[in-house]
Subunit: 206 residues, 2 copies
DNA sequence: GTCTATATAATGATAGAC
DNA sequence: GTCTATCATTATATAGAC
């Protein structure tokens, strides 16, 4: 029923190792690590189960490789967005289907207990907290707690994409859905604690 | 390492059926359904694996029973809170350790694909949307999307409790943590879209 | 690099005794 | 109501051929 990754023509150009990684990212993001069998990944990638072991050693090895890859891709995307914004202050971040997938993987990794994801969570809390502290007019009794809750909300919502998509009667990966979510964020935070310029500049909104 | 439920003195008073359900709720909330073995539940509850089958038929049967129970408990808690607030407009909702556990179970059930949780998600979206529409001053371009995102944030943050607790160096189930989170919510939403009276009245904040 | 075939461990389901 | 023992299934890990 679901479209298989190995049906994608561009997919053919990838090395087997990359195909395995892409298939794993998709399935881990969708169903979680525990629920995904290594042979399901093999089928999705169009290779044998033995080859996965050959390349990644074990399921855990594959998981770590995916974590590392996704994390570096997300950081790269963020830095690129900051660059673009530097060049053009009117630039607005948008997420294509791949970014959405990577972000969803990231949210799921938080739940699946990935150490890399956990330390990234803490980094984001630090960033929020520092920003709160730096704001002259803002006098929060517990800036750390505000930062932690804000981080929990922005990342936690990534784990609810399926439900949001269903409630809005949109395809989970469609650009239409992402646009509606983006605009909603704008409205929600419009007269709120966080002025929109910050969200745009730091790329912290979903 | 973790305290076992069967060590709790009050736990002894429960019937075996209730003990199994309580153990399952705790483990499902913590690790998810798939990651929890039926024998782990048996050990936690201090019964045999066979007895679980005797009472609930299958793992899925036990899952559904937990879903139903938790959902009804959460609704009951919400209605009680509304009553108390009716009697005393100054009443503020607080969550004890058990409520926190039930809410975390609920968040995890969303991820584990529980149908009951999904339909509850849609209900909450409906409530938010209706409230947005009812607000005279509020003119949202896409009230449905705002409602869906708000719901995703408030429920999604439940799945990030571990990370929030770690970032705040608090025990996940401690009242101290819940208080800090509550106060943080107050600060975050203070000058925001949602006036605090609504949050208090509807009991929608975490 | 890639595959097939197999070993081993874990888990949910089942049967039957007490 | 409750337990022990066992079965069938599945998934990961491994070995070895091409």
């Amino acid at each position: 029923m679901e479209p298989r990754l190995s049906d994608d023509p561009a997919f053919e150009d990838l090395t087997a190792r990359a195909r395995i990684r892409e298939a794993a990212i998709r399935l881990f993001a969708e169903h979680g690590v525990e629920e995904t069998a290594i042979l399901d990944i093999a089928k999705e990638a169009g290779v044998s189960g033995g080859l996965i072991r050959h390349h990644f050693g074990s399921k855990e090895g594959l998981r770590v490789a995916c974590d590392t890859y996704v994390y570096s891709e997300l950081v790269r995307f963020k830095l690129e967005a900051l660059e673009k914004r530097k060049a053009d202050p009117e630039f607005l971040v948008t997420f294509d289907a791949r970014q959405v997938l990577l972000r969803r993987y990231f949210g799921r990794a938080m739940i699946d207990g990935s150490p890399a994801a956990a330390s990234r969570f803490d980094e984001i809390v630090d960033e929020y907290e520092q920003w709160f502290i730096d704001q002259p007019g803002l006098d929060l009794a517990d800036a750390r707690a505000c930062a932690a809750v804000m981080t929990g909300m922005t990342i936690g919502v990534l784990t609810m994409q399926h439900h949001i998509a269903r409630a809005l009667a949109e395809d989970p990966l469609s650009p239409k859905l992402q646009e509606r979510i983006s605009l909603a964020y704008g409205d929600i935070y419009s007269p709120a604690l966080l002025p929109r310029p910050l969200l745009r500049r730091e790329g912290l909104q979903t």
